[in-house]
Symmetry: none
Subunit: 216 residues, 4 copies
C-alpha cells in the first residue's frame, strides 16, 4: 500500500491521475460503512454508489455483483492487519506479559478505533450467508490471530511468567473482550453513557487477565 505501489505505474501521467486506481478503493470504503451500518441485505447498491460518488452502473465495472463487492470488502480490508500483528510479535523482544499488553493495545489502535472495527461485526452478522467467505475469514483472520496470541502465551508459560493453562483457550480469552467491545460499541453507540471509557476497559482487562494468568 505504500509508495511502491504508487510507483508501479510509471507512465508519464503524474500521480494526480489516480482517479482510475482510486475508484475501487473508494467503492470498497463506501460499501464497508454501509454494510456495517445496515447489514448486507439491507444495504442498497444505489446508496453505496452515491456515497462513493459514482452511479450504480459504475459499480459493475469493478465488481461482478453485490456479493463480490461484499467479499472484496472483507478480504481487502482485514488481512493486512493480521500481518502487522504477526510482524510485531516476531520482532518483539520484551517479556510475554508486555507482548500480550502490546498486542491488545495495538489491535484496538488498528482495528477498534478505525473503520476496520466494522468487519468483525459484519462477519458475525452475515456468516451464514457467505459460507465460503466465512471459512476464509476464519482461517485467515480468526485462526491466525489466535495462533499469534497462543504463541505468545506459550512463550510466557515456557519461560515461567504464566501458570499452566489451556493455551488455545487462553488465547481466545485474551481477545474476546476486545471482540465483544468492537461489536457492542457500534451496536449500542447511541445507548451507551457518553462517559464510557474504552481506555479503562482495556486497562482493566489487561490487568485482570495478566493477574489471572500470572504464576503466583
Amino acid at each position: 500500500m505504500g509508495h511502491a505501489v504508487t510507483r508501479s505505474k510509471p507512465k508519464t501521467s503524474p500521480r494526480w491521475h489516480r482517479r482510475k486506481q482510486a475508484r475501487p478503493a473508494e467503492i470498497v470504503a463506501a460499501a464497508l460503512e454501509l454494510f456495517v451500518e445496515r447489514g448486507f441485505a439491507a444495504t442498497k447498491l444505489a446508496d453505496v454508489a452515491r456515497r462513493a460518488g459514482v452511479t450504480k452502473g459504475t459499480l459493475y465495472l469493478y465488481f461482478e455483483s453485490k456479493e463480490a463487492l461484499f467479499k472484496a470488502v472483507v478480504r481487502e480490508t482485514i488481512v493486512p492487519v493480521i500481518a502487522q500483528g504477526e510482524a510485531l510479535a516476531r520482532s518483539f523482544t520484551g517479556s510475554a506479559r508486555e507482548l500480550v499488553e502490546r498486542l491488545v493495545r495495538e489491535y484496538w489502535r488498528l482495528v477498534g478505533e478505525t473503520a476496520l472495527a466494522g468487519i468483525p461485526k459484519l462477519m458475525m452478522a452475515e456468516a451464514a450467508t457467505f459460507p465460503e467467505l466465512t471459512r476464509f475469514y476464519y482461517d485467515e483472520v480468526v485462526t491466525r490471530g489466535h495462533r499469534l496470541m497462543a504463541g505468545v502465551i506459550e512463550r510466557g508459560m515456557k519461560n515461567g511468567e504464566f501458570r499452566p493453562v489451556d493455551v488455545t483457550i487462553a488465547a481466545k480469552l485474551a481477545m474476546s473482550p476486545l471482540m465483544h467491545a468492537v461489536v457492542a460499541r457500534r451496536a449500542f453507540a447511541s445507548c451507551m453513557p457518553e462517559g464510557f471509557n474504552v481506555q479503562k476497559y482495556l486497562d482493566t482487562h489487561i490487568d485482570l487477565y495478566l493477574h489471572g494468568i500470572a504464576k503466583p
Copy 2:
C-alpha cells in the same frame, strides 16, 4: 398435547385448526430461528410462516408487520432470563466467587445453549435498523445484566474476596467472553474444529477471571 387429548379428536385432519392460544408463540419461535440464521432483511416471511406451520396471511393476524414480529421476538424471549438471574443472585448465600461462577454457568445453560443465544447476535446485527428496540434491549437486558453482576463484584470487594477494581468494567469483563462466544459460535459453527470444548472455555474463563480479581 397429551395423548388423551390427541385421541379425543376424530382424525379427519381438517385444513386448519383454531389455535389462537398457541399460534403467536409458535410464530415467534420460528421467526427467532430464521432471523438469527439469516438476519432480518434476508428473512422471508413466507419461510417464517412455513416453519411455524401456517400461511403468510396468518402472521398478520398476530403481528402488524415484519418489524413488529421482530420486536416481539426480542422482547418476549429475552426479558424473562434476566429476571431469573436476578432472582438467583438475591437468594444466593455463598461467597461472591461462587456466585460469579454460578451466574456465568447459568447464563450459558439458559442462553448459550438454547435458542435464546441467537438474540444477542440479532441485536448486534440489527441494532442500527431498530433504534427504539435497541434502547429497550440495552436498558432491559444489557444494563440489567451488568448491574446484576456489578452487585456481586461489589459484594466481593466489600467482604475482602476481591481486590479493588472498577466495578462496572469488571462486571462487563466477566460477561464479555460469554457474549462473544454466543455470537461467534453461531457465526463460525461450521468452521470450528469439532473438538472445541465450550465447557473448558467457561472453566478457563472462570479460573482466569477469579484469579485475576482475587485479593492476593
Copy 3:
C-alpha cells in the same frame, strides 16, 4: 330496537323476531354507505361487516360474494323509487308544468336528500365493472325515469303548454341537473361553500327550464 327486542327472548316469538329478517337490510344499508363513499374495489367487507354490526362470516350467509352484495345494494334500494314516481304521474291532475316541477322536487326529496343519492354515483363509477347490473339499472331506472318524464312533456306539448321539442332529449334535460347535483354534491361536499343552496338550485332550474320550454 327498544324494549320489544329485549322481549324477543321468550320463545312465543311473534313478529319481534325480525332480527333474522333485518340482517340483510342492515348489511345492505351499511354496504351502500361504504360503496358510495369509497367505491366498490376500495370497500373492505370487513368494514361493511363492522358497520352492520356483524362479522365477515355472516355476510356470506346472506350474500354469495362481494359482487352479489353490490348488486343487491343497487337492485333493492333503487327500484321502489321509480314506481313511486310513476304512480305520482298517473294520479296527477294538474298542468304539465306543475307536474314537471312536482317530479323534480319529489326526486330530490326521495333521492337527492336520502342515502339513495349514492346509487347514481355508484353506478356511474362502477358501470364498467358490472355490465349486467348496469344494463338492469339502465333499463329499470334510467329508461323508466326518462320515459316517465317524456310522457309528461309530451302531454304538455299536446295541450299547448310547451313548444315543440325533441321529447326524449327534453326529458333528459329536465333531469340532468339533478343527476349532476346528486353526484357532485357527494364528491365535493367538503369543498363546497357551506352556503350552497340546493333549494335555490332547484328553483332556478325549474324556472329556467319551464321558461325555456314554454310556448311563447
Copy 4:
C-alpha cells in the same frame, strides 16, 4: 414519428430505448384510460405499464406511487383546458348568448369527445379517497369553470340580453347537462341506443337554456 426518423435507425430493435422525455406523458395517457375505465383501486399498475409499453419498474422512475400517478393524471391533463376556455371568453366579441353557445360547444369538443372526458368521472368516483386532490380539482377546474361562465351570464344580464337570475346558479346550470352527459355517456355507453345523438342533445340544451334565460 415520421418515416424519415424511423428509417434513420438500423433495425436491431434493442430491448429498450432511452425515452426520458416521452415516457411520463405516455404513462399518464395510459393511466388515464385505465383509471377511467376501471377506477383507481381496480386498476393494476401492471396494466398501466403494459399499455404504456414499459414495465412496472419504469413507472416508479417517474412516479413515486400509484397515488402520485393518479394525481399527475388529473393535474396534468385537465388544467390546460380551463385556460383555453378563459382565453376564448376574453377574446370573444359577440353577444353573450353567442358566447354561452360557443363555450358549451367548445367544452364538448375539447373534453366531451376526447380522453379528457374521463377526468370528471374519475374525480367524482375517487374524490373521497383523495381529499387534497379533490380540493385542487374543485378550485382549479370546477370553480374556475363556473366563474368563467358566470362572467358571461353577468355580461348578458347587464347588456339586457338575459333576464335577472342568480348568476352563480345559472352558470352551474349551463354546464350541468354537459357534466352529466360526460359521465353518463361513458358509464352507459354499451346500454344507450346507438342512435343517441349528442349533437342534438347539445342543440336542445342550448335552445332551452337560452330561451329560458332570455329577456322576454
